[in-house]
């Protein structure tokens, strides 16, 4: 159980990092296109700042907590369904992770009157990427469960 939880936490950290890198990339790319002096050093410094900022300086709940809850619920539901059906775990958890992240990036604006609080999720491409991070996290989690069993 402890091992499963450790893997889950590691996956939350992975998905959170991918989420934040995409958030940072979305505005840094815009700034670069607008002629602002963006270089690699500035980019990585911004990623680091966002890792701290999105967990400790936001008006929204810390992003690590949000992803922990989203993936936690998604994987719990997947776990319950997998007791009744027979599907390869890595694919079903990937589907669950994708569903969780998709729900987050599509339903969050509905809670905030269409205001897009997560800048990386503003475009369809961004929503797709963030959904894919959930799929990746779920796939790794399911793969580990398969190996354990």
């Amino acid at each position: 159980m402890l091992k499963k939880f450790t893997i889950f936490v590691a996956i939350v950290i992975l998905v959170m990092t991918l989420f934040i890198v995409q958030t940072t990339s979305s505005y840094m790319l815009y700034l670069y296109q607008m002629g602002m002096p963006v270089d690699l050093k500035a980019f990585f410094l911004a990623v680091w700042t966002d890792l701290i900022g999105m967990n400790f300086h936001g008006l929204l709940p810390p992003i690590a907590l949000v992803i922990f809850v989203v993936l936690g619920v998604a994987f719990l539901v997947a776990h319950l369904i997998l007791k009744r059906i027979s599907v390869e775990k890595k694919y079903f958890y990937a589907f669950a992770g994708a569903s969780g992240m998709f729900t987050l990036v599509t339903l969050f604006p509905a809670l905030t009157y269409d205001l897009e609080m997560y800048r990386g999720a503003l475009t369809l491409l961004g929503k797709g990427y963030l959904t894919a991070t959930g799929a990746l996290g779920g796939y790794i989690f399911g793969l580990n469960l398969q190996r354990q069993s």
């Binding site: 500035a42 008006l59 205001l115």
Partner: protein, 371 residues
């Protein structure tokens, strides 16, 4: 000799006491029960117009709120219903109102082709008793947007008879504040009939809208003309921190979202930059945010100490800021009325008193005066 260092301290304490005595004011409530009061226009010594966000224009005559709203106001776009932003916003009088009875109103209006979209719109109409007649649209922000936030919507007449209108970035559309083919994050300048003045900065420029006066703004909800008749002060909401007070000049770029002193609501950066050549700096900024909602420059004689001071209503945590200026630089800030909650507007009255509007579904108009 060794106590000489106390002299400046004593002087400061004495000076503050004098300032306090001259600045003492009393408050009286002129009207209450206003549903999200927003704009205030002082018509005469005994008449005031007030907008309510829900779409009503009200009249206060001889200190009494007229129970009958003015008819003829177009329907306004309300979303969400609890109206945190948008709805009916500002009201402004034509500079020759006494001759023509023309007033101007700004509000969010549903798009006629797609009702899920809306746009900040300005109309003008003639006030006849309890009716607004001869209503015509003189400005509509392009393109329409999905969100109901960051309208700007402040109207200010300049000494030459033209008018400035602020248009916010709509929250989701901030990147467009840097391009000139839209009204997102812009201040526009129009003639009183909505036509475009020939001397606007981008007239004749390819891919630029000719009504734009300045750009790179976020959500500019306050604007006032300095007592010199030339300087235009403007403030805008920053994101999380970074509310700005600017002096707005023709054709200038105020930087949003390329530079800012604030963070995104998620806690991420919007930009790592706070300054850049070609982008204007604010004359003051606030971190954390105070959510500035309106701006007035004191013009009266009732409070001699307040002459030429800037008054800014703030919604977070809710107070009135008195800014002392020397040569367009802010040299002092006093926080007043912090017991009234979110404040929405402040204007000069004809007798030298100040009128302040509180925010919310039970908004009040409060008069600050001295015996």
């Amino acid at each position: 000799m060794r106590f000489h260092f106390l002299f400046p301290l004593v002087f400061i304490l004495f000076a503050n006491a004098v300032i306090s005595a001259d600045s003492e004011f009393k408050m009286e409530t002129l009207a209450e029960g206003l549903d999200h009061a927003w704009g205030i226009a002082v018509v005469s010594d005994n008449e005031i117009l007030v907008t309510e966000g829900v779409g009503r224009l009200r009249r206060i005559v001889d200190g009494q709120l007229d129970p009958v709203p003015i008819k003829g106001i177009p329907p306004v776009f309300l979303y969400p219903d609890d109206l945190t932003q948008g709805g009916l916003c500002d009201v402004a009088l034509h500079p020759r109102y006494n001759e023509n009875q023309l007033i101007y109103l700004s509000f969010g209006e549903a798009d006629k082709d797609d009702p899920s979209l809306n746009a900040m719109t300005v109309i003008r109409g003639r006030l006849e008793g309890h009716n607004l007649v001869d209503v015509q649209q003189i400005f509509k922000a392009e393109p329409p947007r999905k969100t109901a936030a960051h309208y700007g919507a402040r109207i200010l007449f300049l000494g030459d008879g033209t008018m400035l209108i602020t248009s916010g970035d709509g929250f989701n559309y901030r990147d467009q504040a840097q391009t000139l083919d839209n009204h997102v994050g812009k201040i526009v300048r129009l003639n009183d009939d909505g036509s475009i003045p020939d001397d606007n900065p981008f007239v004749g420029m390819k891919d630029a809208l000719p009504d734009i006066w300045s750009f790179g703004h976020r959500n500019p909800t306050g604007m006032a003309l300095g007592n010199d008749g030339m300087t235009i002060f403007e403030h805008e909401h920053g994101p999380q921190g970074g509310d700005e007070l600017n002096i707005v000049n023709i054709g200038k770029n105020y930087g949003w979202p390329l530079i800012t002193y604030g963070l995104d609501y998620s806690g991420s950066l919007i930009t790592p930059f706070t300054e850049r050549e070609g982008l204007e700096q604010p004359i003051k900024y606030w971190v954390p945010s105070i959510a500035p909602s309106a701006l007035a420059i004191y013009q009266g004689d009732m409070f001699p100490d307040w002459k030429d001071n800037l008054f800014i209503t703030a919604m977070v945590p809710g107070d009135l800021r008195r800014l002392t200026m020397i040569n367009d630089k802010v040299v002092g800030e006093e926080i007043m009325l912090s017991e009234l909650g979110r404040l929405r507007n402040v204007v000069n009255s004809t007798d030298g008193s100040l009128l302040v509007a509180t925010d919310g579904p039970d908004g009040k108009i409060i008069r600050l005066y001295k015996n």
